[in-house]
């Protein structure tokens, strides 16, 4: 006997049909449904080809289809095989937008700048920065955590380490906003770009690309000045090291190489810790039991490091894209040369086949082979710095303000996209 169809009742294997068609990382309501969508995709359609992302969608540059990989094993495979899943997309960032073997040479130059040995001596300074921001923030009982802490904190450290003058912060932030957030619905208006948008507030792509091209020229002019300055007066900073670096031990970096590297440093250094820290604080504000657990363990550095890994897994904010280098049949899916593949770390890191109870934060989770910092040759260059920043920030925040909550009646400004984050987080601290 055939059972009665109930058209009103959602059923995962049917729902996934419309999810696959309408999947849109940039949609304003994407973060609300993200993990439910990814769960269904992992289960029923681990590789999907959303209509919304035809022609490259937000990542641009692709004429063909865009695919979304949702399972851990597929995301990790693509990260590990740059010869098929290339990082050469859109803007020529170094080292992110370059594949091995050139990529390997760039990384050889830069890897030593962000090692444990280099970063350990910086810890006291990072802790000081955190406390200076907390001193100011805690003069009030209510504040926007993003504006007061998660935004300025990594930027101050970045400027210090890289050698960018702190007074140029507003300019750097403006560039970051354009490059990282320009695509987001409503941002073109917020940023006063004066370009056409659709009903949902998405900017017209051609106009946005024009704005970004102009901003790139301004940024390059600014960086060129700094580079010349360091050639004349070397200092102890990343800018100087970049100027003095030798590619494959043979030649200095060209002007283009220097600029493309600095461009990426600004995006990576200014935005990712902000997004991750904001996302973690939203979680802790909404889960006081987990916050207390963290406070219990936060004096033990080994346990803090496991907790950070778990919080990075849980929040996994990046969904990088790769370009398919040749027609390639991946597990029976025919990919075409030039197709784009979106590798969602958010979905991979909630894969129930790798992480038991994936939607739960287990601060001492082990093993925890998450891909929140990406794996393979393009793993995050600044990950050791990011971990220290996150660890120190969370320790100092919870030492100084163990009791806090979301401001009643308000919601955090959580946004989706290729790099997710939080741009508004109103908190109230307990006076007691």
């Amino acid at each position: 006997m055939v059972s009665e169809v109930d058209p009103e009742k959602a059923d995962g294997i049917y729902q996934v049909v419309s999810i696959a068609r309408e999947f849109d990382l940039m949609a304003a309501d994407f973060p609300e449904h993200e993990h439910e969508m990814y769960r269904l995709l992992r289960q029923h359609l681990p590789i999907s080809c959303p209509e919304t992302m035809r022609g490259g969608g937000l990542y641009g540059g692709g004429a063909g289809s865009s695919w979304v990989f949702a399972r851990y094993e597929d995301v990790a495979y693509a990260f590990h095989h740059p010869e098929i899943f290339s990082s050469q997309i859109g803007l020529p960032f170094i080292p992110q937008g370059v594949d091995p073997p050139e990529h390997t040479e760039y990384r050889k130059i830069m890897n030593p700048w962000f090692t444990q040995q280099v970063l350990t001596p910086l810890e006291p300074r990072i802790r000081e920065f955190a406390n200076e921001l907390l001193d100011k923030m805690l003069e009030k009982r209510e504040f926007d955590f993003v504006k007061e802490f998660s935004e300025p904190f990594p930027i101050i450290i970045f400027c210090q380490l890289a050698g960018f003058p702190l007074e140029d912060l507003p300019r750097l932030m403006r560039w970051r906003d354009l490059f990282v957030h320009g695509m987001r619905a409503g941002k073109a208006e917020d940023l006063g770009l004066g370009i056409p948008t659709d009903e949902a507030g998405h900017p017209e792509l051609k106009a946005l690309r024009q704005v970004l091209a102009e901003a790139t020229q301004e940024l390059y002019a600014y960086c060129t000045e700094l580079i010349e300055e360091r050639r004349r007066h070397p200092k102890e900073d990343v800018l100087t090291k970049l100027v003095q670096a030798r590619y494959a031990g043979t030649r200095p970096l060209t002007r283009e190489e220097l600029l493309q590297t600095l461009h990426l440093f600004i995006l990576g250094g200014l935005d990712t810790v902000t997004g991750t820290l904001g996302s973690i604080m939203v979680f802790f504000a909404e889960h006081p039991d987990k916050r207390r657990e963290f406070i219990e363990l936060m004096d033990d550095p080994v346990r803090v490091s496991s907790a950070i890994e778990e919080l990075v897994r849980y929040t996994s904010i990046v969904s990088p894209a790769r370009r398919v280098t040749r027609d390639y049949n991946y597990r029976g899916v025919q990919l075409r040369e030039g197709d784009l593949v979106v590798l969602s770390t958010a979905s991979a890191d909630r894969d129930e086949n790798v992480f038991p109870n994936p939607d739960e934060v287990i601060l001492d989770r082990h093993p925890n082979p998450h891909v929140g910092f990406v794996v393979g040759p393009h793993r995050c260059l600044g990950m050791q710095l990011a971990r220290r920043e996150l660890g120190i920030a969370l320790q100092e925040i919870h030492r100084r303000m163990p009791n806090y909550a979301l401001k009643p009646g308000e919601k955090p400004g959580v946004y989706g996209g290729g790099v997710k984050g939080v741009d508004y987080l109103p908190l109230v601290v307990d006076a007691g």
Partner: protein, 69 residues
């Protein structure tokens, strides 16, 4: 018990180092290595956990015959 880091696979996540710095070290480029593959009895559990934490599967644990966990 011995541990071995596959230097081709290591991408410098340093998770092994964070869990068991007594066994895993990090070179000037951020990649892991072990200077003495033989793991002392009292560090075996930690060394094993360090190996399991590697997201690149770059660390192999070689148990010796008769070695206890």
């Amino acid at each position: 018990m011995k541990v071995r880091v596959d230097r081709e696979k290591c991408q410098g996540h340093n998770r092994c180092y964070m869990i068991c710095p007594e066994v895993y070290q990090v070179d000037d480029e951020g990649y892991a290595y072990v200077s003495n593959g033989e793991v002392p009895q009292d560090l075996r559990e930690q060394a094993r956990r360090g190996a399991e934490a590697c997201p690149e599967n770059a660390i192999t644990v070689l148990a010796e015959a008769g070695a206890s966990r």
